[in-house]
């Protein structure tokens, strides 16, 4: 019989690790087992996947997420590029703004947005797509810390001065430089920022709920209150989506030394 020889210190570290694993997996296991209690087998999942409001809310959140990503990249990439190339003195101000979403919690952001844009004279919530605009705006703000750090780290790794001068000497304008030279070089940074944004946006509850949007977060809250087994199935699906986004980030980041800071909106 082979004997594992462990020092007392190693035993302690194994216990710590196993506790961590239990903490991580027990809630998932419990949720999965609960979702399997509905009869016939897997009916909680088939019920979920065949209902219209599941797909419509998930689709809505996905579309909002993609729009948010496009706007966030369009705002952050030229700004981070410009700061590095021409106005390094503006860096503290830009960094300060990108840190603000950590300081202002989502519940306060939506409170502020509603206070100003839901009343006269600018009553955005009553015009078509007004609330959606506010939602995208708020999510763009939430994405700033991650998107900025990710893109700025990517810019540090390439020689933007040389690239820009080379492109300019061949007659390229700023739009062409950004879209055809800088963007392809930042592919990995932008995609990690994008998937992180998607992971945060798709399950977000607070802002979507108080703007009364038909998003995925409020949908889970609604069925969580009213139904038995489907909420468990939806939780597992939602966990799988988070896993997918994080897996894609890890896949993209393989081999690169740039670290992506990860944290969500709770």
């Amino acid at each position: 019989m082979m004997r594992l020889r462990l020092t007392p210190a190693q035993v302690f570290w194994w216990i710590v690790f196993i506790l961590g694993v239990l903490y991580f997996f027990l809630p998932l296991l419990a949720t999965f087992l609960f979702s399997m209690r509905s009869q016939p087998l897997f009916s909680a999942y088939t019920d979920t996947l065949t209902r219209g409001d599941f797909w419509s809310s998930l689709g809505y959140s996905f579309v909002i997420g993609v729009i948010t990503i496009v706007i966030s990249v369009t705002l952050v990439m030229p700004t981070a590029f410009w700061v590095r190339l021409r106005v390094p003195r503006a860096r503290p101000f830009v960094e300060f703004v990108t840190l603000l979403p950590f300081v202002i919690p989502p519940v306060v952001i939506v409170f502020g947005l509603l206070s100003i844009y839901a009343n006269k004279p600018i009553s955005l919530t009553t015009v078509p797509y007004g609330s959606d605009l506010l939602l995208v705006g708020a999510y763009t703000m939430l994405s700033l810390p991650y998107m900025y750090r990710s893109i700025d780290a990517g810019l540090r790794a390439i020689d933007i001065n040389t690239l820009t001068e080379a492109a300019q000497s061949m007659g390229a304008g700023w739009t062409r430089i950004l879209v055809q030279i800088i963007l392809p070089n930042l592919r990995v940074s932008i995609l990690s920022g994008a998937f992180l944004t998607l992971a945060i946006v798709v399950g977000e509850f607070t802002i979507a709920a108080y703007l009364a949007r038909p998003a995925f977060g409020p949908f889970i809250a609604l069925i969580g209150r009213n139904e038995a087994y489907t909420p468990a199935a939806v939780s597992i699906v939602s966990f799988g989506l988070t896993w997918l986004a994080m897996g894609l980030i890890a896949f993209l980041g393989r081999g690169s030394r740039a670290r992506v800071r990860v944290a969500g909106a709770h």
Partner: protein, 299 residues
């Protein structure tokens, strides 16, 4: 100069003194305009509103009104939950990161833990609350297992998932993975030569930790715990789904105020939100200072 004319549309081709300065700054306008419309202006509106009474007159009464029992209680509960989960999550996360990096565990466990931590730190809100209800609720999986197999009825012994202690337990799910994610690179940054140098000078492993490793890691440890504090202080969705109003948190009072004027005074609601942002600002400032200090050694 060979710069083409069309560059003038979006900015100056080369930094030239004087007049071009403003043209250069124009490139930053879209970013700051968006931040202004969706973050700075709403925040300024809250601050301005917090200094007005119902008739729009200037007052500091709203801040004086924050001393009402139930508001003070909300702040204290929010701070207590955040402190408890930041310290517990911080200590446990640090131990876990240490275990997989220096604790002699197989290397693949480290990769697995980092992946899980990335997922878990982002798994929050309603699905997380539901998962804990299925685990530790009245008929949760773990509750029933402990009761029927081990004979321990945790609910009968005072445990209540829908109370503050339950909230602590649930928040830990996204707190300690965040600690793992930030501490792992820091522990990696401890250089082997430092340990060898101290061993050459006759230091024991305990002395190495007390005098070298811990002092180097302390700014990161404290800084990350402050980040965890902010992480839980601003959380709303998980608490909303889990406690259904049984625990009085600042974020929940603010969201109640949005659903209806529960404070019977809009200005008081604004003051409540501004107070919250002030606490977060202190926390993030401390975090930034500590992060700068930790960068001195850990690169």
């Amino acid at each position: 100069m060979t710069a083409p004319a069309q560059t003038l549309i979006q900015g100056a081709p080369k930094a030239r003194p004087g007049r071009r300065r403003w043209a250069t700054l124009l490139g930053l306008v879209p970013f700051f305009l968006a931040a202004f419309l969706f973050m700075l202006l709403p925040m300024a509106f809250l601050v301005a509103g917090s200094f007005q009474d119902v008739n729009g007159n200037l007052t500091t009464q709203n801040y004086a009104d924050l001393s009402q029992n139930f508001i003070v209680d909300a702040y204290i509960t929010s701070i207590r939950v955040s402190l408890a989960t930041a310290v517990a999550g911080g200590v446990f996360g640090f131990l876990l990161a240490y275990a997989v990096i220096l604790g002699g565990l197989p290397h693949f466990l480290r990769t697995a833990l980092m992946t899980f931590s990335g997922v878990a730190s982002n798994f929050a809100g309603i699905p997380l609350a539901l998962a804990f209800i299925f685990t530790l609720g009245h008929v949760g999986f773990l509750t029933l297992f402990l009761r029927d197999t081990l004979g321990i009825d945790i609910w009968a012994h005072g445990f209540n998932l829908y109370s503050e202690i339950g909230l602590d337990f649930t928040y830990m799910y996204f707190q300690f993975p965040l600690m793992v994610l930030i501490m792992a690179p820091a522990i990696d940054g401890l250089r082997q030569d430092w340990r060898e140098a101290s061993a050459n000078l006759g230091a024991t492993s305990g002395q190495y930790w007390r005098h070298i490793a811990l002092p180097i890691l302390t700014p990161t440890l404290l800084g990350t715990m402050i980040l965890l504090f902010g992480n839980s202080f601003g959380a709303q969705a998980t608490a909303y789904a889990l406690t259904a109003g049984q625990v009085n948190l600042v974020t929940l009072v603010i969201s109640d105020q949005m659903s209806g004027d529960v404070l019977h005074n809009v200005g008081l609601g604004y003051a409540l939100a501004v107070g919250m942002v002030a606490i977060m600002a202190v926390a993030i400032t401390l975090y930034t200072i500590l992060q700068r200090r930790s960068e001195r050694w850990l690169r």
